[in-house]
Each structure stands twice: as C-alpha cells, then as structure tokens.
Symmetry: C2
C-alpha cells in the first residue's frame, strides 16, 4: 500500500476529504447517561450530535495503525457531561495513544479489575492507554474537545462490556465544575 | 501497567521529564551525507546536534505502542539538508504515523522495490508510513522541525539496510530551495 498524507485541521475538525466520518447523536447513546429523562428531552429537542470521529481507511491487518480525530461537543445530559461510549479493545493486549488538540476534558480509564484513573485532556499532554484499560473521553469544557488518537489496526472494539458493566465513576457538573463521582452498585 | 500522561511541549521540545533523550551529532552520522569533507568540517567546528528524540519508556511487547518527539535542527552538510538516518522497521509489516508540530521539512519514503515518495511535513498534516516503507525526515526550513510519531512497540529498527543501500533520492538546497535529486548508482 502507498503512503497516505492527510490534512489535519480542527476548525472545522477533519482529517482530509477521504476520512470516514461517524456521527453519534443523543438518540444513539440511550442507556449511557444516568439521567434518561434528560436524554429523551434532548432527543425531542433536535437530537444534537454528541461526538463525531474521522478515520482514514487503513487496513485492519496486524502491523497497521488506525488513527483519527474525535470531536466531542460541549453539553450535558442532566448534570452529566457529554462523553463517548467508551470501550475496551477486543484484543485486550493492545494500547492506544491520545493527543488532545483543542478544548478541555478528561479521559476515564478502567482496567478489568475495576481500577479507575482519570487523566486531564488538553493541548500539551499525551496520554498512553496501556493494554487492558477501557477508556472514555468526557468534555468538561465549553468548546469542542478535539483529540487525535492512534491504535493498532487489529485492536477491535468491545463496547458491550462497558455497556453491560459501566465505568465505576461518572463525571458530573457541580456548580459549573467537573466532579468525578463513584457509581453506586452491587 | 498504569496509564502514562506526558507533557508534550516543543519550545523547548520535550515529552515529560521521564522520556529517554537520544542525541545524534554530526560525528554520529558519518557516511550518511554525500559531502564527507563538509561533515568533517562541522565535526571539527563543534560537532553540532543534528537531531534528538524523546521517547517515554514503553515495553517493547506486541500490542504496545511507542511514541515520541523528534527535533531535527536546521542546517546543511554541503548542499544537503540535515536529516535523520532513516530506517526500515525490522518487522517489515509494521506501520508508523507522523504528526508534524513545528517547522517544515519532508519525509522521504522508499519501499523494498526501490519506489520513492516524498511527502511534505508541516503542522496540519498527518503522514501514514505503511508497512514496508523505509523513512527518513529532512529539515528543509530555517527552524527546528518537530514531529510526533507513533509505531508498534515490537517494530524494531533496521538502520543497516538503509546504511548499506541508501535512499535513491537526496534532498539538496538549490538557490535556497529544496530540490529532490535522484542518486546515481548501479
């Protein structure tokens, strides 16, 4: 395969004209936020885009790397900040690198033992998600959170484990500031 | 292993206090540039740094990703711009992603059939180096060329093939502008 060169812009964010754009609206994210009634209000009020991703078409074979841009918009569902679904990699032994480009937020990480970590995301940091950590990004700011990511192309995505068990923390607005709150559970 | 968060700064460029810094001076790069006499003059005149890299310590196992910053300084050896040694990955089936952050330059790519490609490097592009392509960066500007890169941690580096066979093109200054010149050879 030939080298690929993509324009990387984030106002508006995109990764060249050939990147595949995926859009997640509030109606795609039922069950994700704790306040289901507020989510349905948002769906009825226009079903806003919560986040979108742009990924060039890279083969999924081993040795390849997939990369892209995520644009996570500012907003709340009830007191909970807009966030991505979050996922483990299907191949648990694969890592990911996050490079924030614009905005402010946090990356919530959780391993299979249930240990949680919360890392700030803003331009000027790089976060390494080691093998075995589920990860979800949260926009705690007032402008779009834009970040570049790279992962092994054969990693695969496991959204089901997170959808079933959830993360053990949620990020809620408290007097306009983000607060990381433990989830009560069994 | 726990997640890693690194500060990513490039004035001065570094990737957190824990990154491993590797420095290449003109005396480390004998045999690389076509004008060996000019190289020796530079070595005698202070042996300047041509480039340095910063890499966090990531395990080399499969599934991990290594990433870092390269700072390639502006300069010439004769008419040839400062450049990195260039390498194939030992595991030819592994790719790499380049994200320029500052400065201007080119990435010279060559596959094992000897096909060459030259891609511009500047903030606002991402270059995907597919499996099987040797790659070398060249600073064609007047300020440091700084880029972020990510590759599979088990890729390995093969500098020998490039040192033995070279790239089929060189990047030379012609009236102050970069010119890609084919290398004559057998």
């Amino acid at each position: 395969m030939d080298p690929i060169r993509s324009e990387l812009t984030w106002e508006p964010a995109q990764l060249g004209p050939d990147a595949v754009r995926t859009i997640r609206r509030t109606s795609d994210l039922r069950g994700l936020f704790v306040d289901a009634a507020s989510l349905e209000e948002l769906v009825r009020a226009g079903d806003p885009v919560v986040y979108e991703t742009y990924e060039p078409s890279i083969p999924e074979g081993p040795g390849h790397l997939r990369y892209g841009l995520t644009v996570l918009y500012p907003g709340h569902v009830g007191r909970e900040y807009f966030m991505t679904r979050g996922h483990f990699h299907l191949r648990r032994e694969t890592a990911e690198v996050y490079v924030p480009l614009r905005g402010r937020g946090v990356l919530v990480l959780q391993d299979e033992l249930g240990r949680c970590r919360v890392e700030d995301l803003h331009p000027g940091v790089v976060v390494y998600v080691p093998p075995g950590w589920a990860h979800r990004s949260v926009n705690t700011g007032s402008e779009p959170l834009v970040f570049f990511y790279v992962y092994p192309a054969d990693a695969g995505h496991d959204y089901e484990t997170v959808a079933r068990s959830g993360f053990r923390v949620r990020v809620l607005a408290q007097d306009g500031h983000p607060q990381v709150v433990p989830v009560e559970g069994p």
